[in-house]
Amino acid sequence: MAERERSHTRPLGGVFVAHSQVLTAPDVQRALTRMAHEIVERNGGVDDVVLIGLQTGGIPLANRMADALGHIENVDITVGSLDVAFYRDDIGLRPVLPEAVTNIPGDLAGKVVVLVDDVLFTGRTIRAALNALNDFGRARTVQLAVMIDRGHRELPIRPDYVGKNIPTNREEMVDVGDDGVWIGMLEDK
């Protein structure tokens, strides 16, 4: 999410040019499996666990995380998706448009919600997501799982489960895809 947002900032229409790979596709899968085990350990199982992927980068990761959790505990995990465009604090400052329709499965009251996103950057997307979640009931606890924590937080937010911490500079971009995780720059077309 954070990366998508940046790809829309002016100057618009830039192209992501990858410079170096930080995780291969199998690395990502191993990190997901490890994080799944951590979720099970921390919560003493997966009772009441609901995974919510953040549009758009968090969705495929949330689905894969659900598969991994299902494999460990032999149960079906509920997965939802959340688009935080309507909750952002920078509406009017930068392009903000909903990417996809939110789909939250039922009332979240009493649930253990694990937010899943690809990259944690400023923390503003997560702040918006926390506000949004409030409208769906009072979760017992909300935890955060991200594949990449790249630093540069602007709010007091920290992840509970991290695939990999990567030091970056602000101008760089991190792309999480099917072919692993790459660092690169947004360059003019």
Partner: protein, 327 residues
Amino acid sequence: MTRPHHLLSVADLGTDGIAEVLRVAEAFAEVERRAMPKVPTLRGKVVATLFFEESTRTRLSFETAAKRLSADVLSLAVASSSVKKGESLRDTIETVEAMGIDALIIRHASSGAPHQVARWTTRARVINAGDGWHEHPTQALLDCFTVRQVLAERKGAAPEELGIDCFEGLRVLIVGDIRHSRVARSEVLAYAALGAEVTLAAPGSLLPPSLEGWPVKVAPDFDAALADADVVSLLRLQAERGSGSFVPSLREYTAGWGLTARRVDLLQSGAIVTHPGPMVRGVEIASDVADLPLSVATQQVTNGVAVRMAILFLLLGGEWPGEDSNV
């Protein structure tokens, strides 16, 4: 795609703009289905409704939409305002805008009034909520949104997955008082922009004086046109604009152009009947027909809120893809 500053006509949006409104409205329709259907998106913005002509659903719909976006809503009750003391439209608008209002939603009996207002305002966005015989853009947008929703439901797909391809070649029949109908003008523009084939059916006296440049056909035979239609858009006789004198009698109008139980049998199974409301049962639509499942008037009202949320969001909050603005 550049963001229109105002929404005065469906033409301000273009095909891409209409597609974007439908897409964003789908996200707001999800908000509406929530137990707590309110988002903080337009906190701090002020939206004013100025209705110089009466309205039930459009005004309530816009006000509900603005409130669900957390905007503050002011509504000018024209009957008890200084307009009655003789204040001009221009002075009224300047007064309202001087209060720091972000969007003006205007309905006026004179065609073109919102365009005139848009020329006077400096920062407020102007949304046309119906001007005379001219246009009613949000109504046409919510009609398209509702039609897509019904088509998607039948396919078992999410409406946003259909994009606008589902309108390509869709046969839309607009029936009734086209001459005096702003809804018809906006619908023709919207459906045609989306690739639908639009046909008009009305007694000659209720067709516009000229159809030059309209992307429409006129049905020679109403019953035959009904049998061909995928969507039938019924319009009300605009009695307040003198439609009564254009038809010999209401009974004769109903016999010739009303959607009676007999005519419903002519429709294909799966035809969708829309009506912008207010409905005059027994005139343009038989009362028991209005309550059949093929009539989606209630769904249109529900969708009106989501579509108007999308319009307010796109004009006041969001930005269009590829837009180069200096916000």
